[in-house]
């Protein structure tokens, strides 16, 4: 097994971990964190799997760069929606999904 494949498998595990957090948490900030972890997992798969032969592939590097920018855009938008929701309703969860604690 090469380093690329090793990181790709790590990426898959991160994705599933993030997916679990995304579904299971109700707090919006935690779901945004989970989304970012899922995204990082995806990116590792994209680069790692393509480089499992050992040689560097610039194409997935460019794709992941795009992906990182898309992720930060979505994160910023989601955070501001969340903050505005907090200002207007005092809640950080969606209606009907209150955090169990």
């Amino acid at each position: 097994m090469t380093g690329g494949l090793f990181y790709a498998i790590t990426g898959v595990l991160l994705f599933c971990l993030g997916l679990y957090g995304f579904i299971q948490h109700a707090h919006l900030l935690r779901r945004i964190l989970a989304f970012n972890i899922m995204g990082s997992g995806c990116f590792l798969v994209l680069v790692g799997l393509a480089q499992r032969g050992g040689q560097v592939d610039p194409v997935p590097h460019a794709l992941v760069l795009t992906g990182i920018v898309v992720a930060v855009s979505a994160t910023a938008f989601a955070l501001i929606l969340m903050r505005q929701l907090y200002v207007e309703s005092g809640h950080c969860t969606l209606p009907g999904e209150d955090e169990e604690s």
């Binding site: 790709a8 990426g11 994705f15 995304f22 919006l28 779901r31 989304f35 899922m38 995204g39 997992g41 995806c42 990116f43 798969v45 994209l46 790692g48 799997l49 393509a50 499992r52 194409v59 997935p60 794709l63 795009t66 992906g67 898309v70 855009s73 979505a74 938008f77 989601a78 929606l81 969340m82 505005q84 929701l85 207007e88 309703s89 969606l94 209606p95």
Partner: protein, 491 residues
């Protein structure tokens, strides 16, 4: 006339479908709502001309390829338009034009929401055009995100905690969907070393099954397939009427279109029958559960939104019906036809619902009595759109259901016929609830406002197109045949 025809066929319309909406979005944001409004009609008309030109070109010359940057796949990104893409582009342009006219009247020049409606809507149309044209797996991911963020921004135009919650729920669902899709893309690229849709196909093995499951799940969330539809009703029901029309008629069709492309090109060798039947089962669940919930709604726009949940179900009957050689083409045509006719009918219905809300000042179905007299053309429009949604002749919805029934009969899958019959009856039930109420006498304490003529007029035109799709089915199906995966059609 022949000059015009020759010119339409000769021009490469693909840049004209991408440049103008994106430029409009830029200028609308830079120069503010007043200029955005001035530019809206020329840009939208140009979009319809370009989509029509492309459709004609595809019909006469076959599928069109546009290699961006001149590189060609797999190094660069290729755009690709066959009959299916041309039809979806034409639907986007036509509904976009009608919704644009409606919005000019709906958002008055000094409406604060108009400031961001125009750039967001222009981006949305550009994103959908880009999605329909793209033939590259990763580029499709970017177009999905572009479309998703534009759509969520439009939902966030409404104020209040409920609208914010709807927008957030929509955003999270859209992001989850696109990440599942992206993981699929990463696995395909790692496995096959290319992103260009042309020439890729999966082998039947465990990894392929996982890829299919991930990408299908992601796109099913975006299409609001039962039981993943939870985000749709608050987002579509709560947005301003023109936004609801764009989202319900067009945006969910884009992810469905991508699902079609993937299933019948990339996934085809690795698909098994149970998977297709399972999608059909979820479709059936959507038809029954969505119709049942539509029947329970008190608010007009929520009823129309749940009707979308139900109608999405018919789209997914395509997958089991197309998995047997006899009837496969009828199923394909029927599914696509349903996407088209539902688009026009649902856009008309949401637009006219907006006019009804304007006239009555509220959206409570029980108190809509008298609208039939106050808004005769509006109620006629609602009735025409209903005819298409119920699948009655001579509408586009009728052709769609007819083709799907034909496919079910040809492949001997009678259980889907049963589902469609029950679904048709349920949709008749919830739509007649509105119509019956509107033709009751006016309650004593009710005041009506006369909506601008443009509101009802543009909805009426859309409902006419939904009807016309039933009358000119031959031309539409001929275009759909260009580049289709099933071509054993008898003339």
């Amino acid at each position: 006339m022949s000059h015009l025809h020759a010119w339409l066929v000769a021009v490469d319309w693909i840049p004209w479908l991408l440049g103008p909406p994106l430029a409009h979005a830029t200028l609308a944001f830079l120069l503010g709502p007043r200029l955005a409004r001035l530019l809206a009609l020329p840009v939208l008309v140009l979009g319809l001309v370009a989509a029509s030109g492309l459709a004609l070109r595809v019909l006469e010359l076959g599928p069109q390829v546009h290699a961006l940057g001149g590189w060609g796949a797999p190094l660069g990104i290729e755009l690709y338009a066959d009959g299916l893409a041309a039809l979806m582009l034409w639907m986007t342009a036509a509904i976009g034009l009608a919704v644009g006219c409606y919005s000019l009247a709906f958002f008055s020049a000094d409406d604060r929401r108009g400031t961001y409606f125009w750039p967001l809507a222009a981006f949305l149309i550009g994103a959908m055009n880009a999605l329909y044209l793209s033939a590259d797996l990763f580029n499709l991911y970017v177009t999905l995100e572009l479309m998703g963020l534009a759509a969520v921004g439009l939902v966030a135009l409404s104020s209040g905690a409920a609208a914010l919650a709807a927008a957030l729920r929509y955003l999270l669902a859209a992001l989850l969907g696109s990440l599942l899709y992206l993981l699929g893309v990463a696995l395909v690229y790692g496995n096959q070393g290319s992103l260009a849709l042309a020439g890729l196909s999966l082998e039947a093995n465990l990894l392929s099954s996982l890829i299919i499951a991930l990408m299908t799940l992601g796109l099913a969330i975006k299409t609001a397939l039962f039981p993943l539809h939870f985000w749709l009703p608050p987002a579509h029901g709560g947005a301003p009427a023109p936004v609801s029309a764009l989202l319900s008629a067009l945006v969910i069709k884009a992810s469905f279109y991508l699902l079609l492309r993937l299933w019948f090109e990339l996934f085809l060798p690795a698909i098994n029958l149970p998977a297709a039947q399972f999608l059909g089962l979820l479709g059936a669940g959507a038809i029954l559960w969505g119709s049942w919930l539509a029947l329970q709604q008190r608010e007009l726009k929520m009823l129309v939104a749940y009707s979308t949940v139900a109608q999405v179900g018919y789209l997914f009957l395509l997958f089991p019906l197309a998995s047997f050689a006899p009837g496969a083409e009828a199923a394909w045509n029927g599914g696509v036809y349903h996407a088209l006719s539902h688009g026009f009918a649902k856009a008309a219905m949401f637009l006219v619902a907006g006019a009804m809300l304007f006239a009555a000042g509220h959206g409570e179905i029980r108190r809509l009595g008298g609208l039939g007299q106050q808004l005769p053309l509006g109620m006629f429009t609602f009735a025409l759109a209903s005819v298409s949604l119920m699948g009655l002749p001579p509408s586009g919805g009728f052709i769609a259901k007819w083709l799907l029934l034909e496919a079910a009969l040809a492949s001997g899958q009678w259980w889907w016929i049963l589902v469609m019959m029950v679904g048709g009856l349920l949709s008749a039930a919830y739509l007649f609830r509105v119509l019956r109420q509107a033709f009751l006498p006016t309650p004593a304490d009710t005041r009506f406002r006369r909506p601008p003529a443009m509101l009802v007029g543009s909805a009426f035109l859309l409902s006419l197109v939904a009807l016309g799709l039933g009358l000119w089915a031959n031309g539409t199906l001929a275009l759909l045949r260009v580049g289709a995966p099933f071509t054993e059609m008898t003339p």
